[in-house]
Symmetry: C2
Subunit: 191 residues, 2 copies
Amino acid sequence: MEALKERIRQEGRALPGNIIQVDSFLNHQVDVQFLGRLAEAFAQVYDIRRITKILTAEASGIPLATVCAYRYGVPMVFAKKAKSDNIEGGLYQSEIFSYTYRRKVTLLVSKDWITPKDRVLIVDDFLARGEAMRGLLDIVTQAGAELAGIAVAVEKGFQHGGDKLRQEGYPLCSLAIIDGVDSNGFIFREE
Amino acid sequence: MEALKERIRQEGRALPGNIIQVDSFLNHQVDVQFLGRLAEAFAQVYDIRRITKILTAEASGIPLATVCAYRYGVPMVFAKKAKSDNIEGGLYQSEIFSYTYRRKVTLLVSKDWITPKDRVLIVDDFLARGEAMRGLLDIVTQAGAELAGIAVAVEKGFQHGGDKLRQEGYPLCSLAIIDGVDSNGFIFREE
């Protein structure tokens, strides 16, 4: 999506530790109107009329997931991240390694809110190694729900989590794939 | 707001530890269309044309803040919660006690995204003792920004954080105030 790439070129920063900082519009300050354009771009890829639920993980995936749910007219569910071993019952659980927290965290979703009747679109702001995405996919599988697709704003292609998902046949739409950074700036993968 | 109270009556549960669970529509599964109605209710109380920014704290405040920002046509900023003492510069910081994490956490907002030119509407899903709200107010003050108002979906009146804010003169709009629970269900404060 050219508008997103242009925005990353203008406002993004590459920081040490493979961090791509786009906190002017995506994951700290959030340009919610612009997220509406991203939601429209996903709707050109997936048949949103058949989606019954949006699933994301807290925290920075929530704004984009909320705007998608608002525009598509379906509920949104956000998985909670628990750092405790003391977790109540009635929950789908998937343990992932969080690079943000530098430790294992458990993604939790109540069994009440994803069921075998659901067709789920997973939405997230970033996809890097794919740890969080694996956890969300695991939860969709545990629920016996159907995966409608995966919708990501920015994929860090150089960390290859997205490539592995595509090789395994998952439907994945990333609106901007960054394959690297050089002295001229971000290198985006050709569409 | 009668529609919110009715929804709490129908779907809410009072759990041990003063927890009011409304995770069918507000803070786990999220009825994003219904949040649009809450955003409209806030717009009847505050002059939203003069608001330049919505501020909330991760994670469960983000959906409502996103919908408010989307409808009002302004950016949304969410404060991050850091449990680390290793925090970079360029940030407004406010230390609060988190009853969710049962420890002190630091709310962080980059100085780039709230400035003295801003008129800020603080939005959150819940107000209880008011710890997180004090942190957000502190950040607005540190930024030299103007507070346009505080917009809350559900206030736990029996924990009195909202009452203290009102006594101190803060503009606070809570769409449903729960003063207690008895055998007949939730007791809402009269408007």
